[in-house]
């Protein structure tokens, strides 16, 4: 089977409008969580969010073209353009025909959906903007990227709530490894700062009152985020043939379902997903140096993930673990992709980003969650975990690239 590597990265996140700004905030543990900016803010209880502020569509499209993309697709296309530029690949017709696009999405084009709900239900009007369907259709981010870049291989959106971005990258990895494609733009996108989404999340009672503190004893919930991250994933020989810079190698993907509760994680099942990824990569538990955790900052999720990690690595050294959600919040369908990007850069730069805001590491988690700040250590193998509502788990295994 072919080896598969990451050769391009692109991002639009609350921590920055590109990869460099995003990574520097993540590695410094500099939180992008801020007071929520929204015209209906007075009607919300949640006071904070991790929003992509200062994103100006006019920097990327003319007025008409920008209006044809929901904000989720705007993020997705800008991140994908950046990733493609970063990887330096020339999309000849032959390359394009074998170039896939798989994008993870959890809630989709909800800005368009929300606006239309207001027109129809609040304003009692029947005429909604004419291109609403192509804006909110779930596959819009993938279709817009494919059209914008000219990717003509297999293209679709994958939906597995908060694991979507990880599933997207994992499916692309498997397809390329098996020879079904040579290159893929894979990642996730979300733009969920709408009244319907925010009030619905409030109703679940999982949002923090002030900030996201993963693995901290005083954690009190997650903070909604938005944004997009895209990876260019490529067959190693394809990347080498063109002298591409390689960030990291993807070595395994494991994914399963709890088949139990929709919103309560099952530690045994999460542990099984990690084992599936390690088996796929040919790793034993002792090989794993670092885990980029799902770590949302809710009492339940962090405890379950901690327990799953302790169980998986019971017979050897525990890997170092950190969550970047204290910096970028929880961007649902984009989260796994932003975390895959962070994991690739962790291996590339050989430095572990801290768990920002973890000012009181919870002894019951029983892991070194790198709370004090970035840590420079030698790293070979890493996992990145995603644990989604609906009982869906997805784990990628990555390796520091060595020829």
């Amino acid at each position: 089977m072919r080896r598969v590597v990451i050769t391009g990265l692109g991002a639009v996140t609350p921590a920055g409008l590109n990869v460099a700004e995003t990574w520097s905030a993540i590695v410094a543990g500099r939180s992008a969580i801020r007071p929520l900016e929204h015209k209906m803010r007075e009607r919300f209880s949640v006071p904070v969010a991790a929003q992509v502020l200062n994103f100006n569509p006019a920097n990327h499209w003319d007025r008409k073209e920008a209006g044809r993309l929901d904000r989720i697709s705007q993020f997705a296309v800008v991140a994908a353009r950046a990733a493609m530029a970063d990887c330096g690949l020339e999309l000849t017709p032959a390359v394009s025909a074998r170039a896939m696009c798989i994008i993870g999405v959890a809630v989709g084009g909800v800005t368009t959906w929300d606006d239309n709900a207001r027109i129809i239900h609040a304003e009692n009007r029947n005429r909604v903007p004419p291109l609403s369907v192509p804006k909110f259709m779930f596959n819009a981010p993938a279709s817009q990227i494919s059209t914008d870049l000219g990717l003509r291989g297999m293209c679709f959106v994958v939906a597995s709530a908060c694991a979507s971005g990880t599933h997207a990258a994992g499916l692309a990895f498997h397809a390329i490894r098996a020879g079904a494609a040579d290159v893929a733009v894979a990642g996730g996108a979300e733009s969920c700062m709408t009244a319907i989404t925010i009030l619905s999340w409030e109703a679940l009672r999982v949002l923090s009152h002030d900030t996201c503190r993963p693995f901290s004893k005083n954690r009190d919930g997650l903070v909604l985020g938005e944004g997009s991250a895209m990876l260019v994933i490529e067959a190693l020989e394809h990347a080498k043939a063109r002298g591409a810079r390689i960030y990291a190698e993807i070595t395994g993907f494991g994914s399963n379902a709890d088949a139990a509760a929709l919103t309560t994680p099952a530690p045994d099942s999460v542990a099984q997903a990690m084992r599936l990824a390690m088996d796929d990569a040919g790793l034993r538990p002792g090989d794993v140096d670092y885990i980029n955790a799902h770590g949302t900052g809710t009492a339940l999720l962090d405890a379950s993930e901690g327990s799953a990690i302790r169980k998986t690595f019971a017979y050897g050294a525990l890997p170092l673990v950190s969550s970047i959600k204290g910096v970028v919040g929880h961007s649902l369908g984009a989260a796994g992709a932003i975390e895959a990007l962070a994991t690739a850069l962790t291996l590339h730069h050989q430095i572990i980003p801290p768990t920002a805001n973890c000012n009181e590491p919870d002894p019951e988690i029983g892991l070194d969650v790198v709370a004090e700040g970035p840590r420079k250590v030698e790293l070979t193998h890493a996992l990145t975990n995603s644990i989604a509502f609906g009982g869906l788990n997805a784990v990628l295994a990555m390796r520091r690239y060595e020829p």
Binding site: R63, R68, R127, P129, P130, L131, P134
Partner: protein, 85 residues
């Protein structure tokens, strides 16, 4: 303003171009009009002239829709229909 003038303004806005560049003979495809432009202009024309193209039932209108002049004829057709003509 005549229907032609109104249609030209709407099409000029849609293409982000000066309406003075357009006349009844302008071929829309030649000017870069896409299927998405058609959908958006349909919406604008309906608003402007308070007509209903009975979409999907462009079939109900058998005329051409190639030039600006064709669009004017189509608008006129649906205005007449609206007014019970």
């Amino acid at each position: 303003m005549s229907i032609l003038e109104d249609v030209i303004v709407i099409i000029g806005n849609q293409l982000d171009r000066n309406p003075a560049e357009f006349n009844a003979e302008t071929d829309l495809a030649d000017e870069g009009f896409t299927s998405l432009d058609t959908v958006e202009v349909t919406f604008e024309l309906e608003q402007k002239f308070r007509i209903n193209f009975k979409y999907n039932a462009n079939e109900a209108y058998g005329g051409e829709r190639r030039t600006v002049g064709d669009i004017v004829k189509m608008v006129q057709h649906f205005i007449t229909q609206r007014d019970g003509g």
